[in-house]
Symmetry: C2
Subunit: 333 residues, 2 copies
């Protein structure tokens, strides 16, 4: 295992210390238990947005805390759910008496712990709405998941719901728009290489020198099929065909196209993939009117990519375009 | 070789097509020869800023074309200098009759071709100032280079000089501030893995399973020393000691600290490195008042990082903070 770390047991703590040192203008970091909140939290009268999950997916979620996106993030250890006490403490820290939305990716541990945390918070008089993200079309049920996994749409949802909360919408409205984003988003991923959890010290799975895996999960969970490496055009066609036929995305639809790197894939390749995606969608009569290209929901140093399409409406577009100021996503501020 | 590409011979062309599809609001892309210019170029009365170099370092330089940074970028093939005709065409395309600054990283091919291009442009009546970047403290002379190599400071220089041009400073002033940034910036890199040039199909160099190379160049050129992998703290200490003693950076100095990923290193590790850098500089009495953390000047999928320190003054800080709107770096716009 070759990584830029010290003790594998301290990776998450030291990453948080790095974030605290780098971004005091954006966030406050707490260590007992771990959570990150906006530097100006709590914002009185504003709906709070909280997400969390295992670490190893950076910049998600800690890098999305700030104006116009999340109010708080709870990082677990690498690929491990955060605990209810983290979520409870973070919920309290961002409670501006307008309620808090929990954004939960569909993994069994995350779902269970967020449910416990929501119950604890409600018992203390905080209104909590939970929103589940389950956008991965690759597999139904998986390691760690009943139903579909929550992947790339999470990033888009946090941006759009974050903008809705920022402009003062009420708890139920913010939760509803988050659910609407999830309902209109579909994703699929693929891996060229595995990744190594620091505490494990060896690759999560093995892939041959000429193999790739289509439909991989963000923790290296098995996908749909392992096969010989194909061209970017063929990979995009395989993944995107499944995505567009699932929702479905139809001729005349307008989408946000998100090409995400898994952590070990350089940007030059993501633009080659975006070019193929652009051609594929043109062929189907689907218009890309917004896009996001980069490594935003990663799997440590895994090489590979995921594609997410979100069907757009005018409200989504307005909220996507609204200013955001976080370490991981920033414009207009 | 496992990459998300089609034909290795078409990687740069298809990447440019991806950029063109993704960012028509920011840039225009030309193919014969290759160059990228701001969507609103030429800006009459504004000094033009042009850079270029081999591809494989994305988002540099094409991702830095836009308001407040570069007016044009000339991408060569992967790790190969662009040609004088690209530079000449791009210079003409961004010439707003206030002169054009060429930002040249110190590699023999780049220097020679930019010199030829500058002569061609001058002979056609365009004022050109050339600025050389040679900030890499790792080695004196190297594969492809006489003197020091140009690395991470290039990114900071393009932002700061770009802001100076954007606010209407004259040719000589913009070139001088660019030279001043180079004079105050120092960098060093390291690699945990090699990278594979698509056209070569095999790794540029070999590193053992437990080895790293300190002082690596951004094309995989040999560094200072190959050794067993060390902790993030030890790596930061080795690299940063060399950097601070070179300029030198002294107690009481204020710096911009840039922790750069080489392309295959995930963000979680860069924050661990930044945390160590922060501790190291505190120990030396050097204050980090600005920072940049992410993969901005990469070497394809190489795992590793580089550290750049730039000694700040009030003008640099003001120009760094000014709005920028590019695919690779964006704030305030």
């Amino acid at each position: 295992m070759k990584k830029l770390i010290n003790d594998p047991a301290n990776v998450v703590r030291e990453e948080l210390q790095g974030i605290e040192q780098a971004h005091p203008d954006l966030v406050k970091v707490f260590y007992d238990p771990y959570y990150i909140v906006r530097a100006d939290a709590p914002k009185s009268g504003k709906v709070g947005l909280l997400s969390g999950g295992g670490s190893g997916h950076e910049p998600m979620h800690g890098g999305f805390v700030g104006m116009g996106m999340l109010d708080a993030a709870c990082p677990g250890e690498v690929f491990t759910s955060p605990t209810p006490d983290q979520m409870e403490a973070a919920t309290k820290a961002v409670n501006g008496d307008a309620g808090v939305v929990h954004i939960v990716k569909n993994y069994t541990g995350d779902v269970m712990n967020f449910e416990m945390a929501a119950d604890l918070c409600r018992s203390e008089g905080i209104e909590v709405e939970s929103v589940l993200v389950d956008d991965d079309v690759a597999v139904q049920d998986s390691l760690y998941t009943a139903g579909r996994r929550g992947v790339g749409t999470t990033v888009l949802l946090e941006k759009i719901a974050g903008a809705a909360a920022e402009e003062g919408r009420a708890l139920k409205e913010v939760a509803d728009i988050a659910r609407e984003v999830n309902a209109n988003g579909r994703s699929m991923g693929m891996a060229l290489t595995s990744c190594t959890v620091p505490a494990a010290g060896k690759p999560t799975f093995e892939l041959g020198e000429d193999e790739m895996e289509i439909g991989i999960g963000i923790h290296g969970e098995p996908g749909r099929e392992r096969m010989k490496v194909k061209s970017a055009a063929e990979i995009v066609e395989m993944m995107t065909t499944t995505i567009v036929e699932d929702l479905p995305f139809n001729q005349g639809d307008e989408v946000l196209a998100f090409v995400n790197g898994m952590g070990g894939t350089p940007l030059i390749e993501l633009y080659v993939v975006f070019n193929e995606l652009s051609k594929f969608l043109k062929g189907r009569g689907v218009t890309i009117s917004r896009n996001l290209i980069g490594s935003y929901i990663t799997s440590l140093e895994m090489a590979g990519c995921s594609i997410t399409l979100l069907k757009l409406n005018d409200d989504f577009k307005k909220l996507w375009d609204a200013p955001v100021k976080t370490a991981g996503l920033r414009w207009g501020a």
